[in-house]
């Protein structure tokens, strides 16, 4: 049944609907594959196991009874550990929440369950989504399926590695400054950050509330669209949730497969997101992709976004400021661990300080201290106030660009996957890596990353980022599906079919005599 793990969610759905395959079979195939490869890759922090099989059996029973079900019913899915799940531990990659099982589901999780998707487990991430490599997880690294010595991106390295290594056809991620798109880029998978407010954030453990957005992770644009349709739409439990009705993203993706879908589409290339600092192979694949778009009838225009240069700086003021406030809730009273100080009196304040010292990792401490600094009297105007003004300027850059073009494109990340440890010692080197993805979060516009080839120098995946105006998420799916189709036609295969085969862990173990 291993072939079941190779299928897209859409293809698996067809087999499920026509009852050629049961949800139990599909779920078991994925759980078996997780057992085989994930001891090594470590995409999952928790695997649902029997609970997933029980959910799948329930779907099979409902389908057998003739109940009308969502197209994705019975399809397994992995869930980033930042999302609250009432039957699985939810830690956000932090020791401070070790073992916490929330008493409620995030809205997106509740919607998955209502649609009959089968949660396989929770995926690894940088602690509280602070990072671009998943090296800041308190529970250990996740390996990139393309090269075990390299990062899977971050913060959603677990979700991206899970879909890229065929442990799940779909996953949920969250994107505050690129945490869905950059992992997609470096693992050769697809990731979408919807319009801010397009998908509920209720039950997503908050990092920076004005930037966070939940979105789909998959291997194909169409699968992401199917998942977007399940999780999207207004949620009264999230006061920032947009109230409009949304078109079908799946229909938009199907539109992209029609002949001439790119004809006359105005594509803007952001001048500031190219050149210096971009790896040669990334630039090469990007240039080739643009040529392919021209050949398909798209009109390419260079647009300038002069304030994007300040986006990373503004982001690393706004994010820590909001995070320092959001993470104040970890006070050792309502959830999470409690640690008593070694000395001094046992007051709430001392216990809180000792708990946070023991429970937070170095990057979380760094950002909380930075945010506290940015918000403190005397610095507020110069730092946080200025950053909010830059945010206005970046939104104006987007508005000017979208007055000329339909979509904007850039490489999703400046480089391919880097090696473990390469950027750990220098926080700014890690931060600057998000230069391509951060502007979309600051402006709230939707962004998508799809694979656009392998860099010739290292054979690692390169991602193309596509951005659209706020609320025009459907346009991303049309253009993304069209480009994906053209690229796959040129390659003669999908990107992930080229990923190296993973050696099952049992084989390692038996060779070493451990089994």
């Amino acid at each position: 049944m291993t072939y079941l793990t190779k299928l897209s969610a859409a293809a698996l759905s067809e087999l499920l609907v026509s009852k050629q395959v049961s949800a139990v079979e599909a779920t078991r195939a994925h759980l078996d594959h997780i057992t085989a490869v994930d001891t090594d890759l470590h995409a999952f922090l928790h695997v649902a196991g029997d609970a997933a099989l029980a959910t799948a059996a329930e779907i099979d029973a409902r389908r057998a009874a003739g109940e009308p079900l969502n197209a994705l019913a019975g399809v397994p899915i992995a869930i980033k550990d930042v999302l609250a799940t009432r039957d699985m531990p939810t830690t956000a990659g932090s020791k401070i929440l070790e073992g916490w099982v929330p008493p409620y589901d995030a809205t997106v999780v509740a919607r998955l369950r209502a649609a009959g998707l089968v949660p396989l487990g929770k995926t690894n991430m940088d602690e509280f989504a602070m990072g671009s490599s998943t090296e800041h997880s308190a529970y250990g690294i996740t390996r990139n399926p393309w090269d075990r010595d390299r990062i899977p991106g971050g913060s959603g390295g677990g979700s991206a590695a899970a879909v890229a290594s065929f442990q799940a056809p779909l996953a949920l991620g969250s994107d505050t400054g690129g945490s869905i798109r950059q992992p997609a880029a470096v693992t050769g998978s697809v990731g979408v950050k919807p319009t801010y407010g397009g998908v509920s954030r209720y039950g997503a453990i908050a990092l920076a509330s004005s930037l966070d957005q939940v979105g789909p992770v998959s291997r194909t644009v169409y699968d992401a669209a199917l998942l977007h349709d399940v999780i999207g739409g207004h949620d009264p439990l999230d006061s920032t949730s947009l109230t409009e009705s949304w078109p079908s993203m799946a229909a938009a993706a199907r539109d992209g497969l029609k002949d001439g879908a790119l004809k006359g589409v105005r594509v803007g290339v952001i001048k500031e997101l190219s050149g210096d600092g971009f790896q040669a192979g990334v630039t090469q694949r990007f240039t080739e992709t643009l040529a392919m778009l021209v050949a398909a009838g798209a009109e390419i225009t260079e647009v300038s976004a002069p304030n994007f240069e300040y986006a990373v700086a503004a982001y690393y003021l706004i994010l820590p400021a909001e995070a320092s406030s959001n993470l104040a809730r970890f006070d050792s009273v309502r959830f999470g661990i409690r640690v008593n100080p070694d000395s001094g009196s046992l007051t709430s304040e001392h216990v809180m300080s000792a708990t946070r010292e023991a429970g937070f990792g170095p990057e979380v401490k760094r950002r909380i201290i930075l945010g506290t600094y940015a918000l403190s009297a005397g610095y507020y105007d110069a730092y946080y106030g200025s950053a909010q003004k830059v945010r206005t300027l970046i939104q104006r850059d987007f508005a000017a660009a979208f007055s000329q073009v339909d979509v904007l494109v850039s490489p999703s990340a400046p480089t391919t996957a880097f090696k473990f440890g390469e950027k750990l010692a220098d926080p700014m080197a890690m931060y600057i890596n998000d230069v391509t993805t951060i502007p979309a979060n600051l402006a709230g516009v939707p962004g998508m990353s799809i694979p656009m080839g392998l860099a010739p120098e290292d054979g690692l995946p390169v991602g193309l980022q596509i951005m659209a105006p706020a609320k025009a998420d459907a346009r991303l799916y049309t253009v993304g599906a069209a480009i994906e189709q053209l690229l796959e036609a040129r390659w003669g295969h999908t990107m992930l079919s080229q990923a190296p085969a993973l050696t099952p862990t049992e084989m390692f173990a038996s060779e070493e005599g451990a089994v």
Binding site: W100, L242, Y316, A328, L346, K389, R391, Q395
Partner: protein
């Protein structure tokens, strides 16, 4: 070069309620100085006539009807607490005796 001192970091850590070891204070002082130098450039373009934006999608006054909706039970609300006393969260002393 910004002038972040170890004393400042220790004070920020106190404000943020995180005990830090002397080693952590030293390394954070270094990191913070470097980061602040890199991000201070926001003030280059943030002119007085530029309005600040706090939120990507302008929304005002999101209200709902004031009606009771299903919520957590006491048991559920207490289920994740590190300590409890009956139906309440048990917390360490609020006031220091010293």
């Amino acid at each position: 070069m910004s002038e972040i001192t170890a004393e400042q970091v220790a004070h920020l850590a106190y404000l943020a309620r995180i005990d830090l070891s002397p080693l952590e204070i030293t390394s954070l002082t270094h990191d913070l100085g470097q980061i602040v130098d890199s991000i201070a450039k926001v003030s280059e373009v943030a002119t007085a006539d530029t309005p600040a934006t706090s939120h990507p999608m302008p929304l005002t006054n999101v209200f709902r009807e004031d009606v009771v909706v299903p919520s957590l039970t006491v048991e559920q609300a207490l289920s994740g607490a590190p300590d409890r006393a009956g139906d309440k969260f048990r917390v360490p002393a609020i006031l220091d005796e010293e």
